[in-house]
């Protein structure tokens, strides 16, 4: 049994409409998100062959939709909450424990055992509800949803049916195969059927993932099943108000496959419609086949199930006080949307904003760095450039690298202040990334302070000119390109520490002095 919250209210629309602001910059935003999505699910996708998608035919079909047909997409997202214990008993839940090792009379549904709600579940639901701008109801209750399944120990799920904790929604329960997972709390967030394209839908799901990670209610990992999306797709002729026959797609393991699956399904349905075979679209569940890049029938809908909901008598109503909700509201972290707005106002480019705000940990690293006084743009460049590249190569997350925000700020300040050159700065950065330590320590240790004394540089220039008379002669004979050679030699002599501007100024003076 898995608790889930169902937000079917228009409030949630807000979240979908949020991209309207972004739609103005449609390309940048959407593509950037797709990138981060692929990165997040890279491990999983590598395991499967990824044939090229027949873009042309799909594009053509989707073009056609824009003229004659309109797709209607709704998404059910299951978010497994990272509570320490299950929803209705005190069994711990850890992903990947051996089967049936984390069970008790309650989650096994033994006779006489009773569920007791883990208050953390409500807390998580309230957090997500607030973050999705839902209206919370202070009085709600639980209901039983009844059906038989081998690993549904009690023969019913405990859910919220008609008095939801967040307006328009309900808490629900689900059943997994291994009883270890029986009773793991899971939030179900169901969207309005507001989306029209695969990319819009996958952006919605990616935003939800960011949100639950920001809120700290779930790890949001699709590979572990902590975030699962079931998508409903139908198409209808433009102008028709009635929905077309709805098809559910399962087995969507990444945001990119979600987008592709939806676009495939839309084009499949549109083709059937345009060939006058719209009645062949059955209400069914289809499986996305990653290998073949298509959806196939999984099971036809066997009529409407009657779940015989009724109020759960084992659990008292959920009564939230205003103080409780306010306390949670006050403790909510900045939502991804707010963060992006703030970064935007700092003058960062949309590309920077999307990168930095995509991962809560990266965003926190960035925020801490600038809190230490670092230049915003420089901090963003370092994080998105060398630091990101290092993380990618070493397969590390930002929490795992040895560099701390304080030192990145120090590094940026040292370069800006001229203590070290940008080149030395990079050298120090890799030291900090790999081994940690402080900027000051590394500078001292390696004697890397930039040489800004003109006399000292003059000496080095003179030395280099004296040691290379042949090149000097060539230079003075008109081969001025050799300036670079001399600059390199001087830098070498200074062990990279000479201030490049000063070096070049003095070098040119000297080269041209006696001619």
């Amino acid at each position: 049994m898995i608790a889930s919250t169902f937000f079917r209210s228009i409030q949630n629309h807000h979240l979908l409409l949020y991209p309207t602001a972004l739609f103005r910059r449609k390309n940048g935003v959407l593509y950037c998100t797709m990138k981060s999505t692929e990165a997040q699910t890279a491990t999983q996708e590598k395991e499967k062959p990824q044939p090229k998608i027949p873009h042309r035919s799909q594009t053509r079909t989707i073009d056609k939709i824009s003229k004659d047909y309109e797709a209607v997409i709704g998404i059910e997202t299951h978010v497994q909450l990272n509570t320490l214990t299950k929803a209705f008993c005190s069994c711990p839940y850890n992903y990947g424990s051996p089967p049936n090792t984390s069970i008790c009379p309650i989650c096994m549904g033994l006779p006489g055992a009773l569920p007791v709600l883990n208050s953390k579940v409500i807390q998580c639901a309230v957090k997500v509800g607030l973050a999705l701008n839902c209206k919370l109801s202070l009085n709600s209750k639980f209901d039983r949803k009844q059906y038989f399944y081998p690993d549904l120990p009690k023969g019913y799920q405990i859910s919220q049916f008609d008095v939801p904790i967040a307006t328009g929604g309900y808490l629900d329960l689900d059943l997994p195969v291994d009883l270890n997972r029986a009773g793991v709390p899971l939030l179900e967030i169901v969207s309005e059927p507001d989306m029209r394209t695969g990319i819009e839908a996958s952006e919605y799901a990616a935003e939800l993932q960011r949100l639950v990670r920001y809120l700290g209610v779930s790890n949001g990992n699709m590979q572990e099943g902590s975030l699962r999306c079931d998508v409903n797709v139908s198409v209808r002729p433009i102008g028709q108000s009635q929905f077309g026959t709805k098809v559910e797609i399962k087995n969507l393991n990444s945001f990119s496959s979600m987008g592709r699956a939806i676009d495939f399904e839309i084009s499949r349905q549109v083709q059937l419609h345009s060939q006058g075979q719209g009645d062949l679209i059955a209400q069914e569940t289809r499986l996305w086949e990653e290998g073949a890049q298509k959806t196939v029938t999984m099971r036809k809908k066997e009529g409407l199930s009657d779940y015989r909901y009724f109020p759960e008598p084992d659990l008292p109503g959920v009564i939230l006080t205003k103080a409780y909700v306010d306390a949670i509201r006050d403790s909510l972290p900045e939502a991804p949307e707010m963060k992006r707005r703030r970064y935007e106002k700092m003058g960062l480019s949309m590309q920077d904003v999307l990168f930095l705000a995509n991962d809560i940990n990266v965003a926190q690293f960035f925020d801490e760095t600038i809190a230490k006084g670092a230049d915003v743009k420089l901090a963003a460049n370092w994080i998105m450039g060398d630091i990101a590249a290092y993380m990618k190569n070493e397969k590390l997350t930002i929490s795992e690298i040895k560099l701390v925000p304080q030192e990145l700020a120090e590094l940026i300040a040292s370069i800006k202040g001229g203590t070290i050159s940008g080149k030395i700065g990079k050298e120090i950065l890799f030291g900090l990334l790999a081994k940690g330590g402080t900027v000051k320590g590394l500078i001292e240790e390696k004697d890397l302070v930039q040489i800004v004394d003109p006399l000292e540089i003059e000496k080095m220039v003179d030395k280099v000119l004296a040691e290379n008379p042949k090149q000097l002669e060539q230079y003075r004979g008109g081969k001025t390109k050799l300036q670079g050679f001399f600059a390199g030699q001087v830098m070498k002599v200074s062990k990279g520490k000479a201030n490049p501007g000063l070096l070049n100024k003095i070098l040119v003076e000297r080269l041209n002095a006696k001619s």
Partner: protein, 513 residues
């Protein structure tokens, strides 16, 4: 009339005098509260007049003697002597022993016990041994009580005669050709025949009170939420409560005190404080001639209408005048929603049971049908595991909750429940206790209503409203009607305000008998 309570005459052959003698011998200087076997046992044990082993042996002997006639137990513990011996050691070493030390407790078989089978009277759980004790049982054990065995019941508590047990039919100790009532018939019969000192039952629609009336013992149904339901196999979760049987009000009160209190394993258990009322029992010797002066008693008119046995009506009216003599002011009151309670109860209880019994699917425990296919596994395990009454209620409940019928049945019944609750609240604002018969008749013959479920359901009219309202109620013997070997006991039901078991009912009534 209340004072006409007799020991079960048909059982005079059983050595009840053992305990009476013990009581008489023990601490003659102080006056013990009347008729508390628990307190008598405690005094006798602590004054070394008897050992727990002797005491347990006398009960077990009587149990072995009577059990072939009564069949009140589904399982008798083989650890009683050993536990008694252990307690004797503690007493000999002057160690602290709990208030239930040496008290033999029968436990209804739908209440989980870790070291004994717990079948709920159902074939589907034949041989099932739970890995945990119900909270009520755990508390009894912790306070020195000895669980003597598991008592018979109608399958999962669904029935009013104990004939719906999958294993055996229990007989009424007053007339073995009659039913003991149900569903806690085994627990009531066991106390009535002194096979144990007190027992636990469960009461969803009257399953403690009606058998208490039929068997001539005291039955106490606590306020909903007073006692943890953890470990009670759910029949109708919003109505189920664990209740107490004893041969005196004091005993049921002491037992209630032991098992009450909030339990973090039951979200519906109340956090209200459990008062220590055992110390408040007063001896009748100390009371004035009108000890119940000022107690306002409402006699529920609808419970004395047509359809109620005339003998029962006159006993209740007699008891009411007795209460008046003791100082109560008795007025007849009307509960207009009373007759609606019965159908509402059967809709709600069946609906909840259809859900609660879903877990008996043969997959994890209990009897599993030998089939290859999943749906057949469910179907066959349940078809073979459940008896006809259980199936009838699952079907009724499934129907009442189905799409298209929900509003007409379940929702309407919930509305009636609200009405019932309100009308009881209003009546209890005007009165301290409400009084009615516990059942429309005394115990009837085994088999008499077996093929007429509606007639059996109708017998629950006196008790179901109290469950719908979640109120506490006490049933105690108030006389006999003609029938059986030497008359059949009849109980009077006294209903109190929520969480008012203690002051208004128990203490007031205990001084009467």
């Amino acid at each position: 009339m209340l004072s006409t309570l007799h020991p079960p005459r048909s059982l005079s052959r059983f050595p009840r005098y053992t305990l009476c003698t013990l009581t008489a011998q023990s601490s003659p200087s102080t006056t013990p509260p009347p008729h508390s076997q628990i307190l008598s046992i405690r005094r006798a044990l602590l004054s070394r007049q008897v050992t727990t082993t002797q005491l347990a042996e006398s009960y077990l002997t009587r149990l072995r003697l009577t059990e072939p006639h009564l069949k009140s137990f589904l399982h008798v513990s083989d650890a009683v002597s050993q536990q008694a011996h252990c307690l004797d050691g503690k007493i000999a070493r002057n160690e602290e022993v709990g208030p239930l030390a040496g008290v033999l407790v029968g436990v209804k078989d739908n209440i989980c016990t870790v070291d004994m089978p717990s079948t709920g009277g159902s074939r589907v759980l034949d041989g099932y041994r739970p890995p945990f004790d119900a909270t009520a049982v755990r508390k009894i054990k912790e306070l020195g009580g000895i669980v003597v065995g598991k008592t018979n019941l109608d399958e999962f508590g669904m029935g009013s005669t104990t004939e719906a047990s999958a294993f055996q039919v229990t007989a009424n100790p007053w007339d073995v050709s009659r039913v003991p009532g149900g569903s806690s018939g085994g627990s009531a019969a066991a106390v009535s025949a002194r096979q144990c000192v007190v027992s636990l039952g469960s009461d969803t629609g009257g399953s403690v009170r009606q058998p208490a009336s039929f068997c001539g013992v005291v039955g106490l149904k606590p306020t909903y939420g007073r006692v943890s339901r953890y470990g009670l196999m759910a029949y109708a979760s919003s109505l189920d409560v664990i209740g107490c049987f004893g041969s005196s009000v004091a005993d049921t009160g002491i037992l209630l005190r032991v098992i009450s209190g909030h339990d973090r394993l039951d979200a519906t258990s109340s956090k209200r404080e459990v008062p220590d009322f055992a110390s408040q029992f007063a001896s009748i010797n100390l009371l004035e001639s009108k000890p119940l002066k000022g107690l306002r008693v409402g006699l529920i008119r609808q419970t004395l209408d047509d359809g109620v046995d005339s003998g029962v009506v006159s006993l209740i009216r007699g008891a009411a005048s007795h209460l008046e003599e003791l100082g109560c002011s008795v007025t007849e009151i009307s509960l207009p929603s009373f007759s609606l309670g019965l159908p509402a109860y059967y809709v709600l209880a069946s609906s909840e049971s259809s859900s609660n019994l879903s877990r008996y699917d043969g997959v994890r425990y209990g009897n599993q049908a030998a089939v290859d296919e999943l749906n057949s596994l469910y179907g066959d395990s349940r078809a073979k595991g459940f008896g006809p009454e259980v199936k009838r209620r699952i079907l009724m409940g499934t129907y009442a909750l189905s799409a298209g019928y929900y509003d007409a049945y379940y929702k309407r019944a919930q509305q009636v429940r609200t009405l019932v609750r309100k009308s009881f609240k209003a009546a209890l604002d005007q009165n301290d206790i409400l009084v009615s018969p516990a059942a429309p008749s005394a115990a009837y013959k085994i088999g008499e209503k077996k093929d007429d479920p509606l007639a059996m359901y109708a017998g629950d009219i006196m008790t179901v409203n109290v469950n719908l309202a979640g109120l506490p109620a006490l049933v105690l013997p108030c006389g006999f009607v003609e029938g059986g070997v030497a008359g059949l006991p009849v109980g009077i039901q006294m209903i109190g305000a929520a969480f008012d078991e203690v002051l208004k009912i128990l203490i007031a009534i205990d001084i009467l008998i």
